[in-house]
Subunit: 484 residues, 2 copies
């Protein structure tokens, strides 16, 4: 039996049996079209089923294995081909192998001493990603998610513009202004709050029909900020917006940034992966003119959560200068190896999870070419879906890169002009979603945006998907919503 | 063979074979006393051995399995009983199972919809940890590491003191002052930089011989800050300092905080786990008087990286008010379930890794009682080591909770008064460390501090350890250093 001081033999046995459960319940059943995406339970039901309470004494081997089964059973299968709910989905077995290896090695990415393989590997992966952006030099680091990557960009930009901020804080600087589009990710606002800049100093730039930033409005907002005595220092362009998947006009924004002496950041958390695709990389033309780029391989590439990088064009070691605290207990300078490899002081973290291995191993496995095919397939299936929706009566498309659409139930057909049309339409998606979750057949997200009532955002990612799955998706939406 | 679009059958096969490599190379060999803790290679050698380059085309099954073996082989075995180098070590098989399960389920901790099990589980684990602190109510969240937890505390304190900061930034507030001891963790300075407060506004409070904050100096520093027109709003007390393992006098600091209307934070990243131990929890007497507590179960409890929480006594939903951005695409209010369970907006992240499962499963496995035995064992072995060092000639102890000591080679014995003694002593630890790494027999860290030259910090964590391992440690240090 298990003891707090651990029996290794028993420990390995448990781990092996649990691995079999994981293979069976998640990777086998969880990817099986005949199984549910989720086994929906209300919170109270689920609490009762899980018996979450923690007690004085431990449980038996069998009870613990049952815990593993329960967690697997009641969790959403994000690897299921019909999980379309977030900007991540599917499973890549090589990446997953990298993740299990990372967890077992349990080290921190701060010094060469404790993470020799991963320090070199991170360096190499960052170099490769930068080279796709178009930079032969530069810097970068893996962060716990795209939101934190965006925060890094904002903080480094601020230090670049006003280095005194590191020691004296914002009281020693003029008010600063940040520019980002109305459809950019909410992490920009969170960053402005966390960094002490404040959301009032985030100037929201308008977008066109497709969700893409209007450069003329950026110029107008810069004038407006200046008139309020705020110094424009940071513009965020989005490459692949969260909901519509729109790409801001990067070259145009770069011109404006240069003219105004601003740092240009590109939030390519979602869209950065088009850099792998010869066919689609025109969407990010001009990306190399940015000062920094956020890119989440855990989204379109399927590296698995969390896998996000912030890349810098800078070659003056800004990242280290801005973040370093020179802790002598960790970053001793009298070590016997080249301590420039102890990159941990570039980070705002101390212990830092290894996030490079999963991407590296997947990349080794399928090559740059394989990753490009993956991106192309995502676009091809999205196109198929758009074409099929156009053939069907009850779907109304917002023509975007992410497939965003309304399902118009027969009862609302032709009623576009009745005064309660929008209100009634806004209630359709939530009901379809509820029915879908309770049936467990698939998962897809909806949201309102900029005056448009609730619409679905369909995210097509998993490499296992075929046009059959797309047809199923359309049929199922019709089935769930036709009586509304 | 592997294709970018994935063959599931092949994927599972690879994963299974890789799991066997992980079991064999890391968990079996890596915990075997006859094997090395690390297979030291210089960066250039290692680069050559690993072939890190990423290419156009993928590799074969066999090549990829060899990659897995290489990564395992050249990585440091932090699970090895002789890894004493950081404040994490060892392996707990139940926690590891939780981690593999987490990786395979690949979801994000932001909404009940995509993480039903983990939303409820996080809630429960936080409740249990708070109750150990002594709070029947409150709030909290899992963060990517203790440094980020500390940042959360500082940001919430700032919002509590000056809520206008969220919208208007620091230009709308007076200068603020932070207080923390000279031996507190460097994340306090990183937080002050990142949050825009600046390191000049971090007032460093002196410590006594044992490394514990001197409350009288805290009062003096508060007076000093006020005289410079900085508003004291945040004091950080450390429960278990990084190097010496010292505990600041919490009740005394709480008195001073209350008198000055300040937020009191406790960085218990390292020492928080003594709350499990009846014997040792007196070290954190007064912890319940804090406003917030950082606690890293990935350290003394062996939950595995990353596992860190920030706990709040607050019951007014400060965390949500301060961080929320109300993104309508994720946190829709017209969902069919209780959306107060969508806790993601409390976070500064968007996607957030699931960090609660590993702790929960380990806790279920060995119970509160088992965790308390684990903590007690850590203290008992440290005590044994201290007693043994006192018996040996060449060890000089700094009497701390973490066992910090100098090895005095015979050549320096009795030379305490020669002018170059300190300088020569400072060179001993780096050489012993180099020899140790190259032999691969064990790993332990050293550092200088506050005018003391390089000394070792011995961290005793793994539940597999016995007094035999302690004896080995002492013998090995003697062997490696006797000719210096
Ligand atoms: C455009 C964009 N930027 C940033 C993020 C945040 O990434 P993360 O969830 O890794 O914090 C997202 C997440 O969906 C996003 O769509
Ligand atoms: C006292 C203390 N606080 C905070 C931290 C930072 O924790 P993390 O490495 O999880 O960021 C450490 C790390 O060693 C620590 O010792």
């Amino acid at each position: 039996t298990n003891t707090p001081l651990l029996c290794i033999f028993y420990g390995k046995l448990f781990l092996t049996e649990a691995f079999n459960v994981i293979m069976e319940e998640i990777l086998h059943k969880g990817t099986d079209l005949k199984e549910k995406v989720c086994e929906w339970k209300d919170p109270d039901q689920l609490r009762a089923l899980l018996d979450l309470d923690l007690r004085e004494h431990g449980e038996s081997h069998e009870q613990l294995l049952q815990r593993v089964r329960d967690v697997a059973r009641y969790s959403v299968k994000t690897c299921h081909p019909r999980f379309f709910n977030q900007l991540f989905a599917g499973v890549d077995y090589h990446a997953l192998t990298g993740r299990l290896l990372t967890e077992t090695l349990n080290t921190s990415q701060y010094t060469y001493e404790v993470a020799p393989v991963f320090v070199l590997m991170e360096e190499e992966v960052l170099r490769q990603l930068r080279s796709l952006v178009g930079w032969s030099e530069g810097d970068g680091i893996f962060c716990p998610g795209g939101s934190v990557s965006n925060m890094y960009a904002m903080n480094i930009a601020r230090y670049w513009a006003f280095p005194q901020v590191k020691t004296q804080g914002l009281w020693a600087t003029p008010r600063m202004a940040i520019f980002t589009s109305q459809q950019s990710h909410y992490s920009m606002k969170k960053a402005a709050t966390f960094l002490g800049i404040g959301t009032d100093n985030v100037f929201i730039v308008q977008v066109d029909e497709s969700g893409s930033m209007i450069p003329e409005d950026l110029e107008a907002k810069i004038v407006q900020a200046k008139s309020k005595d705020a110094v424009p220092f940071f513009v965020n362009a989005t490459a692949g917006t969260t909901v519509q998947g729109a790409f801001d006009p990067l070259n145009h924004i770069a011109d404006i940034s240069e003219r105004n002496g601003m740092w240009m950041h590109i939030d390519a958390a979602w869209g950065g992966s088009v850099l792998f695709s010869k066919k689609h990389k025109h969407l990010v033309a001009g990306i190399e003119r940015a000062n920094s780029v956020t890119w989440n391989p855990h989204k379109m590439l399927l590296a698995g959560l969390q896998c996000s990088v912030i890349l810098f064009r800078d070659t003056t070691n800004l990242l280290m200068h801005c973040h370093s605290a020179n802790a002598t207990y960790l970053f001793q300078q009298d070590k016997f190896y080249d301590t420039s490899l102890d990159t941990g002081d570039k980070s705002i973290q101390c212990g830092r999870k290894v996030d490079c291995l999963k991407l590296w191993l997947m990349w080794k496995a399928i090559g740059t070419h394989g990753l490009s095919e993956r991106v192309d397939k995502t676009f091809a299936l999205a196109r198929y879906l758009v074409e099929e929706m156009e053939k069907r009566e009850n779907f109304k498309l917002g023509h975007f890169v992410n497939v965003c659409f309304w399902f118009i139930p027969p009862s609302l057909k032709g009623k576009e002009n009745s005064p309660d049309y929008q209100e009634r339409l806004s209630k359709v998606a939530p009901v379809i979603k509820e029915r879908m979750m309770k049936r467990g057949t698939m998962m897809v997200g909806y949201q309102p945006m900029d005056g448009r009532v609730n619409f679905f955002r369909m995210v097509v990612l998993s490499p296992q998907l075929t046009t059959k799955d797309m047809d199923f998706f359309l049929d199922e939406i019709e089935k769930l919503g036709k009586d509304l």
